[in-house]
Symmetry: none
Subunit: 138 residues, 4 copies
């Protein structure tokens, strides 16, 4: 299983937080490996305490299914989605703000944001993924 | 309580996985006894980590009510279904992919798949049940 | 991350269960990947319902620390072990019966047994690991 | 409530990880605010999946009581400690590896490591705290 490196995760986070700062919002960004295990997380000064866990939960959902977490909201009342949310005790969040990360077409993890409007959360991590020379689509 | 044997469970799994391989999908199959307790599970190389738990949850739902788990989706927002899902912490999944297993008209367990489109999950376990000389209907 | 294949997992299980049968005990064997996610599980006819979850919990502990789960019992009251047991809701069992699995010195998973005396559980999985041409030590 | 800044957290992490690298061990470091909420976490490439949660749990314990988490092990079987560990579902770990962080005598958070011998975990975060111009003692 190929995974994002810590160096790549930090590139995603630093560009993503710079994007949020330019937008004037306070967020946290979590980066996980393909299994959903955390590689790195950073919360901006002043971003709410809840944002690390929520950004991580979105990233876990995105890594688990290899899709943007926002695309999963429509199906989030399906029995499978409800079950996975229960199995992971809330650490799986099919809500907008995270994107999968692909390197040469291979899923290597996901990045999720929390703290701003969900489109802004997603825009921040997308900027980070692109700055790291990676892609949010296979 | 009459139950599937381990030999039967392995027949269901090996035929089911061969069917999935022929279809070109990667799945896990779980086989449970009438109580919903796991008899055997196998995950194909490359099938996602989430598939053992989801295939098992579908099989548990199917064994619990003696019905295909897909038939239960429409009613899955009822208070009873929501309660059972909560009682079992997400290990009860009324979503398509599992079928009950009958021997001579008696419920002896259930088999569930996860990893492909839900119809393909169901098709794989149906092939396995039939290959084992058992039936998905009373 | 290199992992046991399903074929290897089934070799471990079939030899391990044959060993248990020769000993006259009823067990379940779980095989997990290095992350602790289940690859395959089989429960002998007549082995108690609790054995799949217990064998899996021992295998998870063994994979998590790359050690025999039995060696971890002495330290199981340490704060870290108590915390991991709580974090995983009981799905981490530092008790005898599981062994890590190495291929060419690399940890590729773990196998755990449950149902007999814990030394017999361990003996069964050791026989399986050796029959598969793998090793329980780095 | 005065808190470590994200910049300070990243200084602690980068120096701490450099110290671990020099020692030849693979760890994760978590930095939390005085409330125990995560500010930043980084896991070295190859450090086990369990290390983010364990390093965070040690840091939470350290921030909660303003003491080194290692000093708390002796009392960890007291009813209060057992209760706090239960209340936080394992996310409170009174085991060596985390230190509180003081700025001008005021508790501003804590930093914890996981992945190496617990003394090495602690040494890494101590190096980070000192490099950031902060102190592990009031």
């Amino acid at each position: 299983m190929s995974s994002l490196t810590l160096t790549e995760a930090h590139e995603i986070i630093s560009t993503g937080l710079a994007k949020a700062e330019a937008t004037g919002v306070l967020i946290a960004i979590s980066v996980v490996d393909p299994r959903g295990d955390l590689i790195a997380m950073a919360r901006m000064d002043g971003a709410p305490w809840r944002t690390p866990a929520i950004s991580r939960g979105k990233a876990i959902a995105s890594a688990c299914f290899g899709r943007s977490s926002g695309e999963m909201t429509d199906g989030s009342q399906s029995p499978v989605m409800r079950a996975v949310m229960a199995q992971l005790d809330g650490d799986f969040i099919p809500g907008q703000g995270a994107l999968p990360v692909f390197r040469d077409g291979v899923l290597v993890g996901a990045a999720g944001g929390s703290g701003a409007a969900s489109q802004e959360d997603e825009d921040a991590v997308r900027a980070g993924i692109e700055a790291a020379g990676l892609s949010a689509t296979a």
